[in-house]
């Protein structure tokens, strides 16, 4: 059996998730033994129009992006959305908190007309996505798991329980008990509570769990005297494009 051809692509992003690949060290050579990387612009000059697996980083933010991702989808047998910008819109989604004309004016002044921009969309709002690797940046062990599944043709199920589950296993003192609010209770696990392990809070970069137990959350907020505004403010950092889903549901009635 020939090795599957894998291509890396990037849209609006910081390219940090691709860099996580280079950070595998010598283990990268083991991975490269199983796949044939045919395109990876950040570190390779080789180009190919033929590939089986597309690993795509970044969000869709221009009409040109929309056409490009559709082409990639049409070519690839398997499409992996890689990193928060691709899976939920991520930090790019903060743009959607503003009027687009206004933010263009603010950043580019009289040259704003040269920059065409559309609201930030995660990939699955435009094309079908087969695998999601959440996180800002992606958590390497999860990426390896997803890659294995993709190569074996198995499905990968993203954990749908809160970051708190992993956080407890790591024996961290709960941020709420320190008097600090945290997005852990409503955010998908899978990162091994990376940020809280290092003394920071969870910012919700992996997206929300499908059932955030709204009433329970309200009780926690009340108990710790945390305003809903705080939660909304943090939600609008990585998860603003979730509103595209809400709008869609409204249209469906």
């Amino acid at each position: 059996m020939s090795k599957p051809k894998v291509a890396f692509f990037d849209f609006s992003c910081c390219e940090g998730c691709q860099l996580q690949v280079a950070n595998f060290g010598e283990a990268l050579l083991d991975i490269l033994g199983l796949i044939d990387v045919v395109m990876f612009r950040e570190v390779m000059s080789e180009k190919s129009e033929v590939y089986d697996v597309a690993i795509v980083e970044g969000s869709i933010t221009t009409t040109h992006d929309v056409e490009r991702i559709k082409k990639i989808r049409a070519t690839a047998k398997v499409l992996i959305a890689y990193g928060s910008c691709a899976t939920i819109g991520g930090i790019n989604g903060m743009k959607n908190n503003f009027d687009l004309e206004d933010i263009k004016q603010y950043v580019y002044k009289q040259d704003a007309k040269y920059f065409e921009t559309i609201p930030t969309h995660p990939l699955h709002k435009i094309v079908k996505v087969d695998y999601f690797v959440h996180g800002c940046p992606v958590y390497q062990p999860e990426f390896v798991k997803v890659l294995k599944c993709a190569l074996a043709g198995l499905s990968y199920v993203v954990p749908d329980y809160a970051v708190c589950v992993e956080c407890r296993f790591n024996e961290n003192v709960c941020m709420f008990d320190k008097g600090i609010s945290c997005m852990g209770p409503v955010t998908r696990a899978g990162c091994n509570s990376w940020c809280i392990n290092n003394g920071n809070i969870c910012y919700g970069c992996r997206g929300m769990v499908s059932n955030p137990a709204k009433n329970g959350q309200m009780d926690i907020l009340k108990k710790h005297n945390i305003s809903l505004d705080w939660v909304e403010n943090k939600m609008n950092m990585y998860n603003k494009p979730r509103e595209l889903d809400i709008d869609e549901q409204k249209h469906k009635g």
Partner: protein, 441 residues
């Protein structure tokens, strides 16, 4: 000579971000020479408005995955400047260590994975896995070592977790100091091998008189995190006056924004730092410069890669010294801060305007925030090293092309690509901001 040459490199590879090179020579005359930026804008400065100053680091780190720690440190410095907060000596020292680790990490990536393939005549590091396996393994091992040390210090390199306004949410204990020392000491033999390899590299001969800009100071320390803005033309400015350096201006024939200081353009980065401060490098780095024949002022832009190599030795040795000092004196872990959101009001908030100026891998980086009396960001501005270099790159290209017209189209294309790559441009960084050049859009 009546030669027609058209170079059009779409999606320049082995750089960070998206750019095109366009060169057009008609009847032996250079008609057009540009580096187009085609990265989609991300509007970071606009998105920061209304956000708490304590969130700025988390957000602006995401401007760039390669220099995430550099953005973090410039952002924190600007925020603390605006708040009037003075970090402890220990905090500053640990931040310096972080900056060294990132410099090392970024330079190694550039030297091995982005530049070496051109020198060795291949398209990427992938064919080198077969032909130069030892070299590829060493590169990946070194990259991982820097990354592992960063993981210990700040949680991870790509978007550091524990380094925030006020200090660190997690400080290294003795065990962690030992581990970092072990990793960095372990890097030394690989660094020696890197130096030996780099000695065999032949870089293209080309030079153009250039104004080099970077941080300078009046004492013996190699300036990375503090100092004033200085240049090889004798410019000297307080960091608060950074706009007088960058002088963004629009020219009538295009909508491009240019930066210039004392002359038409200026350059920042490892070569600029070498030209300004080589006498302040670590003795081992100075020794290496001597061996490699690097003497200021070096104005061959291709040698930026050599300046990066010299800096690698400097950063590695200084990192080891900082860690050894902490091992002797110990880390005061009572300085650990709870979290960056200041919900407990540990750092008093007032209205202000702050500037951060930090030497990140690709040159001097500025962050500037204006905040109101509640600590909300009213205005934000970030000026990225690559943005400052774009004008200089184009002028280099324009000076180089007439010198190499006798070469084949392929050779010319490669030399142009190598020139742009030598600057180690971080296009995804520079394209988010006002000082983006977009000739030809």
């Amino acid at each position: 000579m009546s030669k027609n040459i058209k170079v059009n490199v779409e999606y320049l590879t082995r750089v960070e971000g998206h750019g095109n090179i366009v060169v057009n020579v008609k009847d032996g005359k250079l008609e057009e020479c540009r580096l187009d930026i085609i990265e989609s804008p991300r509007f970071f400065e606009g998105m920061l408005r209304g956000r708490s100053i304590f969130e700025a680091q988390h957000i602006t780190s995401r401007i760039c995955g390669i220099c995430a720690c550099g953005h973090t440190l410039a952002s924190i410095q600007a925020a603390e400047d605006a708040l009037g907060f003075i970090p402890s000596e220990q905090t500053i020292k640990l931040r310096k260590l972080l900056l060294h680790l990132e410099n090392l990490d970024s330079h190694i990536l550039h030297i091995y994975l982005l530049v070496a393939p051109d020198i060795l005549g291949v398209k990427s590091f992938v064919p080198l896995i077969q032909t130069h396996n030892v070299v590829v393994r060493r590169a990946l091992r070194m990259k991982k070592a820097c990354n592992d040390a960063c993981d210990i210090l700040v949680g991870r390199h790509v978007h550091p977790i524990s380094c925030i306004v006020g200090g660190f949410t997690k400080l290294p204990r003795e065990k962690e100091l030992n581990r970092m020392l072990e990793i960095l000491n372990g890097l030394r033999p690989d660094m020696e091998a890197t130096v030996e390899l780099a000695k065999t590299f032949a870089f293209p001969q080309f030079s153009r008189e250039t104004e080099y800009v970077g941080l300078v100071n009046d004492h013996g320390e190699f300036p990375m995190l503090s100092g004033e803005i200085g240049s090889t033309d004798g410019l000297r400015l307080n960091k608060k006056d950074y706009l007088k350096l960058t002088n963004e201006f629009v020219v009538s024939h295009s909508s491009a924004k240019f930066t210039k200081a004392s002359r038409q353009s200026y350059a920042v980065g490892a070569l600029a730092r070498f030209n300004l401060n080589c006498d302040k490098l670590h003795p081992q780095a100075k020794e290496l410069a001597k061996v490699l024949g690097m003497k200021p002022i070096v104005d061959n832009p291709y040698l930026n890669t050599v300046a990066q190599l010299i800096e690698c030795v400097h950063s590695l040795e200084e990192s080891i010294e900082i860690l050894q000092e902490f091992k002797t004196k110990g880390v005061d872990c009572s300085q650990e801060i709870v979290v960056g959101l200041n919900e407990k009001g540990t750092i008093p908030v007032k209205a202000g305007n702050g500037v951060g100026a930090v030497e990140v891998p690709r040159g001097i980086l500025f962050h500037n925030y204006e905040i109101d009396n509640k600590g909300k960001i009213v205005n934000a501005n970030c000026i990225i090293p690559t943005g400052q270099n774009l004008n200089n790159i184009e002028l280099d290209m324009a000076a180089l092309v007439p010198q190499i017209l006798d070469k084949s189209q392929e050779e010319i294309t490669l030399l142009m690509e190598m020139l742009v790559r030598a600057y180690d441009p971080c296009i995804s960084c520079s394209a988010h901001f006002l000082n983006v050049k977009f000739v030809g859009r």
